[in-house]
C-alpha cells in the first residue's frame, strides 16, 4: 500500500464526520446510501489508511461509485482554507485498490477494453469514426475522444463541417488512440502513462501545430495530467473545441445565424471544475444573434453532474445516467429552454430521456447555426 500524503490525510480528517456537502453529491442520490457520500468515503478510508483495515468489497464499490465530479469541493466553505479534495483522495484509493489486485471485475474489463481497443466498452475499432480516416499533414489535429468516436459519428461530421467552413487544414488520428485519462481515473497510472506517451508520439508525428480536443476528459489529460506524467507535446498547442470555436468567431471566420430560441447550457465537470472553462461555450451560444440564453439554476461551478467519470456503479457498468439526466432536464424545463447544449458525449447520452427539449452537442449547435 502506498503511504497517504498529508493532503489526503487532511481530507480524511476533515470530511469523515462532516455532512455539509451531502446535498451536492450525485452518487448518493442513486441509491441514497451513506457510503456513497463524501463523508461516507472519508470514514471508510480512515478505516483503511488510519486503522489499518483491508479494502473490503463494499468499500471498494463505494470508491468506484464516486463520480469524481468535484461537486463536494465546490460546495465546501472550508475548501479555500483546507483544500479538502475527495476526488483526489478517491483516485489515490483506487490506485491502491488496483495495486493490491482488488480492482472489481468490471473495472478490469474497462481497463482491458482501453488497453486492447482504446475504448472503455472494448468495442471493435473498426466501428470508430476514425477507423476510416486518412491521416495527412495538417495544421490542426482533431481529437474526438471515445464518446464521439464510437457513439456520435454525427458530432464528428459536424466538427469536420465546421473545420471546412473556417478553412482550417485538419486531420484525425486513424483509429484514435486512448489518452490514458480513464485508465488513470480508474487507478492504473502506469498503463495511463504508457497510453499517454503513445498518443503524444502520434500527435507529434502528425506534424500538427494545434490539437483541438472535443472530449473534456481528454482535454483535461492533455492540459494537466501529461505535464505531471512527464509526457511532452513539445510546442503543440492544446485547445478545447470551444476555445477553438471562440477564436474563429472572434476572428470573423465563423458567423452564426439568428436562432430565436431559448437555449441553455449544461456545464462540463472536467472542462469547468478541472479546467476553469465556463465562458467559452457561453460566448459561442450568445454569438448566435437572437438566441435567448438562459442559465439553469445550477450552472458554473455549481453545475449538476452529468456523470462524465461515472464508469461503474455497484460493480457493474454505470447504467443510471438517466437518473442524472432527468434531474438536469427538469431544471432545463424550469427555465423553459428549447435547446440544451452539452459539452460531452456522456452528457448527451445521459440526457436521452423523454423530453421536448432538443439536446445538442456544442458542435451540433454551431454546425446547425453557422452561416455557410
Amino acid at each position: 500500500m502506498t503511504l497517504i500524503s498529508k493532503e489526503h490525510q487532511n481530507t480524511i480528517e476533515a470530511c469523515r464526520y462532516c455532512p455539509m456537502c451531502r446535498h451536492s453529491c450525485p452518487s448518493e442520490f442513486i441509491r441514497y446510501r451513506e457510503s456513497d457520500t463524501p463523508r461516507g468515503r472519508a470514514i471508510l478510508l480512515y478505516n483503511v489508511y488510519e486503522s489499518g483495515m483491508e479494502f473490503e468489497p463494499s468499500t471498494i464499490e463505494s470508491m468506484y461509485n464516486c463520480f469524481l465530479c468535484g461537486a463536494c469541493k465546490s460546495w465546501c466553505a472550508g475548501y479555500e482554507l483546507g483544500g479538502y479534495d475527495i476526488p483526489a483522495l478517491v483516485r489515490h484509493a483506487r490506485q491502491d485498490i488496483v495495486s493490491q489486485g482488488k480492482a472489481p471485475a468490471i473495472v478490469e474489463r474497462i481497463r482491458n477494453g482501453l488497453m486492447e481497443n482504446d475504448n472503455p466498452e472494448n468495442l471493435d475499432k473498426n466501428g470508430a469514426y476514425t477507423a476510416g480516416v486518412e491521416e495527412h499533414a495538417a495544421e490542426v489535429l482533431l481529437l474526438l475522444g471515445p464518446g464521439i468516436d464510437y457513439h456520435y459519428h454525427e458530432i464528428a461530421q459536424d466538427v469536420e463541417r465546421i473545420s471546412r467552413k473556417i478553412d482550417v487544414s485538419y486531420t484525425f488520428l486513424q483509429r484514435e488512440p486512448d489518452s490514458g485519462k480513464i485508465l488513470d481515473l480508474l487507478g492504473y497510472p502506469d498503463e495511463a502513462k504508457d497510453k499517454a506517451q503513445s498518443l503524444a508520439d502520434r500527435i507529434k508525428r502528425s506534424g500538427c501545430r494545434t490539437v483541438v480536443v472535443c472530449d473534456p476528459m481528454v482535454y483535461d489529460a492533455l492540459r494537466s495530467d501529461y505535464k505531471n506524467w512527464g509526457v511532452s507535446l513539445d510546442d503543440i498547442e492544446v485547445m478545447h473545441l470551444t476555445e477553438f470555436l471562440v477564436y474563429h468567431i472572434r476572428q470573423g471566420n465563423l458567423k452564426l445565424q439568428t436562432a430565436n430560441q431559448k437555449v441553455t447550457l449544461l456545464d462540463s465537470e472536467f472542462l469547468g471544475r478541472y479546467q476553469g472553462i465556463y465562458e467559452a461555450p457561453r460566448e459561442i451560444i450568445k454569438n448566435s444573434a437572437g438566441v435567448d440564453f438562459v442559465e439553469m439554476q445550477w450552472h458554473g461551478e455549481y453545475m449538476l453532474s452529468s456523470g462524465e467519470a461515472a464508469f461503474t456503479f455497484d460493480d457493474d457498468l454505470f447504467s443510471e445516467g438517466g437518473v442524472l439526466g432527468e434531474k438536469i432536464l427538469c431544471h432545463a424545463a424550469k427555465v423553459e429552454a428549447e435547446i440544451l447544449i452539452t459539452l460531452s458525449a456522456t452528457a448527451k447520452r445521459h440526457l436521452r430521456g423523454n423530453t421536448d427539449i432538443e439536446i445538442l452537442d456544442i458542435a451540433e449547435f454551431v454546425a446547425l447555426r453557422m452561416i455557410e
Binding site: 441514497y32 461516507g40 464499490e61
Partner: protein, 483 residues
C-alpha cells in the same frame, strides 16, 4: 437482531425486506453498516477516531432499508414487529445527539427516498413534501417561486425535513417565523405497528388533543413521519442587519428581551457572551471587539423594516450599545454556515459539545452563570462559550459550548469526562429552571437525564410509548425510553 448474520433466518428476513422495497434498496454491506454507525454525535465520532489505537467496536445496524413511501414503511415496520427487530430512523444523519444511531442493531430505515415535493399551494401558502427531502433542496425549489419556509438552520444542506420534525429543530430566523414545529400544518405518520394515519388538515382546531404534538419531537420512538405540510412565506422585500457591542452580557439580554416584548418582530437576534465574542468572532469574522456582540435582523416590507430597525437602534442606544453599523451583521449573515465546516468547526481530537437550554427571561442569565460556573470550576481544562440565538416572547435560548482542546487519550476516560460535563452542566441548568435542550433533541446523549427532567410526568411519555409501540421496536435507547 437476535439471529446470526450468516444464518438462513437472517437471509429470510432480508428477503422479506427486499420484497417490499426492492433488492437495490436493502443493504447489508459492510460499508453501509460502518457509515450508518456514526452520525454527528461526538461519542461515536471519537470512538471511530480512536479505533486505530484502541480495541473498540461500535453498535451497527444489521440491515439498512430505503422505503419509497408510507406504504413501504408500514410493511417494513410490520416485519420488524413480527420478528421484534429494533428500527432506527435515519434522515440526514446529521444530528448531534445520537438520535439516529442504531445502538441495539436491527434495521436502519433511511427516509431519503421519500423526497418528493407533492404540492406547493400558493393560495394557502403551504407546501406538502416527503420528509426525506434535504431541507436545502426544498428551499431552493421554493425560492425559485419567490417563497421560503424561513427554516434556515446550519444543517439545511445535510438534514432532512423529517429530522427537524423529529427533534424540534430550529433555524436562524426563528424569532419571527418560529421553529420547524410551528410551521407544521399536518402530517402523514406510520405508527410503530404499521398503521398509516393523517393528522387533521389544519393545526388550529377545537377538536381535542393535537395529534401533531404526539409525533413532533418524538425522535423516531413513536412512529415514522413520512409526509408533512409546512407553511411558506413570500421572500421578503428586504432583509436588514445591524450589529452592536454591549458592555456586558446582561445588558445584551435586556436589549433582546425588549426587542421581543415590544413586538418589533426581529427575524434574528444573536447575542454572544464575552468569550465567544472574542474567540469566534475574531477567528471567523476578523473583528476584534470586547463585550457582548449582538446581530439583529429585520425583514419584510422596506418601510416597515426601516421603522423597526430605527426603534431597535433606539433601544440599543439607550442601553449604551455601540452601533457597529450594517456591515458586520451582513458579514455574519453571509458567513453563517461557515462555522459548520472544517477547519472552522471544532474537530477531534478536541472534545466539545453544545449545551443548549431555554428558559424565561427571568431565569436565563442565572442559568447561563450556573452552567458557566460549574464547567469552569469543575472542569478547568474546558473552555465555556455561549450565545443566545433563539428568542421568544417569554424567554430565550442559550447555545453554550464546552471545548477541551487536549482531552484524555483513553476513550472510556474521555467518554466519562464528556458525560460528566453534560450531567453537571444540564443539572445546573435544570436546577435553575432550564430544560435539557432547545432544538438539538435528546437522542442518546441526554436520554439518561430525560426522566429526571420530567419527573413524574415522564410516566405519561412512557405510557404513550407502550401503547403505540407495544414491542418497543422504535429507536430503542433514546429519549429516556430504553429497550
Amino acid at each position: 437482531m437476535k439471529v446470526a448474520q450468516n444464518s438462513y433466518m437472517f437471509s429470510m428476513i432480508v428477503f422479506e425486506l427486499q420484497d417490499i422495497v426492492g433488492r437495490e434498496y436493502v443493504s447489508t454491506r459492510a460499508a453501509d453498516k460502518e457509515t450508518y454507525s456514526i452520525d454527528f454525535f461526538w461519542i461515536p465520532e471519537m470512538w471511530h477516531d480512536r479505533q486505530s489505537t484502541w480495541d473498540l467496536t461500535r453498535p451497527m445496524a444489521d440491515v439498512i432499508v430505503h422505503p419509497a413511501d408510507a406504504d413501504e414503511v408500514s410493511k417494513v415496520l410490520k416485519i420488524a414487529n413480527n420478528y421484534k427487530i429494533p428500527v432506527t430512523v435515519w434522515g440526514g444523519g446529521s444530528g448531534s445527539q445520537g438520535g439516529a444511531l442504531p445502538v441495539f442493531g436491527g434495521i436502519i430505515l433511511d427516509t431519503k427516498r421519500m423526497d418528493k415535493i407533492y404540492e406547493i399551494d400558493q393560495n394557502s401558502m403551504t407546501v406538502e413534501v416527503g420528509t426525506g427531502i434535504i431541507m436545502q433542496n426544498l428551499e431552493w425549489e421554493l425560492e425559485s417561486l419567490g417563497l421560503s419556509t424561513m427554516h434556515d438552520p446550519g444543517s439545511a444542506r445535510c438534514a432532512t425535513v423529517g429530522g427537524f420534525i423529529a427533534h424540534r429543530g430550529t433555524g436562524v430566523l426563528s424569532n419571527k417565523y418560529g421553529k420547524l414545529e410551528d410551521m407544521i400544518v399536518n402530517m402523514e405518520v406510520v405508527t410503530p405497528t404499521g398503521e398509516i394515519i393523517r393528522t387533521l388538515p389544519v393545526p388550529k382546531t377545537a377538536c381535542g388533543p393535537d395529534l401533531n404534538q404526539i409525533f413532533i419531537g418524538s425522535e423516531g420512538t413513536l412512529g415514522v413521519v413520512t409526509k408533512v405540510t409546512l407553511t411558506v412565506h413570500r421572500l421578503p422585500e428586504v432583509r436588514q442587519f445591524r450589529a452592536f457591542i454591549f458592555p456586558d452580557l446582561g445588558t445584551g439580554l435586556q436589549v433582546g428581551q425588549k426587542l421581543m416584548t415590544e413586538h418589533l418582530q426581529p427575524a434574528v437576534i444573536r447575542l454572544y457572551n464575552e468569550e465567544e465574542t472574542h474567540e469566534l468572532i475574531r477567528k471567523v469574522l476578523g473583528i476584534e471587539k470586547h463585550g457582548a456582540y449582538m446581530v439583529i435582523c429585520f425583514d419584510g416590507k422596506k418601510k416597515m423594516v426601516e421603522l423597526q430597525m430605527n426603534y431597535a437602534r433606539e433601544i440599543a442606544g439607550e442601553a449604551s450599545g455601540e452601533d457597529l453599523g450594517e456591515e458586520p451583521g451582513e458579514v455574519w449573515w453571509k458567513n453563517r454556515y461557515k462555522f459548520f465546516f472544517p477547519p472552522y468547526m471544532y474537530q477531534l481530537p478536541q472534545c466539545f459539545g453544545t449545551l443548549d437550554t431555554v428558559a424565561t427571561y427571568s431565569r436565563i442569565e442565572g442559568i447561563y452563570l450556573a452552567m458557566k460556573q460549574v464547567v469552569n470550576t469543575k472542569y478547568p481544562e474546558a473552555r465555556f462559550i455561549g450565545h443566545f440565538s433563539h428568542w421568544f416572547h417569554w424567554g430565550c435560548m442559550l447555545y453554550a459550548r464546552f471545548i477541551i482542546d487536549h482531552p484524555p487519550e483513553d476513550p472510556n476516560e474521555v467518554l466519562f469526562l464528556h458525560n460528566n460535563i453534560w450531567n453537571d452542566a444540564m443539572r445546573a441548568a435544570m436546577d435553575a429552571g432550564g430544560v435539557l435542550n432547545e432544538h438539538h433533541g435528546i437522542g442518546l446523549k441526554l436520554s439518561r437525564l430525560t426522566p429526571e427532567l420530567y419527573g413524574q410526568a415522564f410516566e405519561i411519555i412512557r405510557t404513550l410509548k407502550k401503547s403505540l409501540d407495544p414491542n418497543g421496536i422504535m429507536n430503542p435507547g433514546k429519549l429516556g425510553l430504553g429497550l
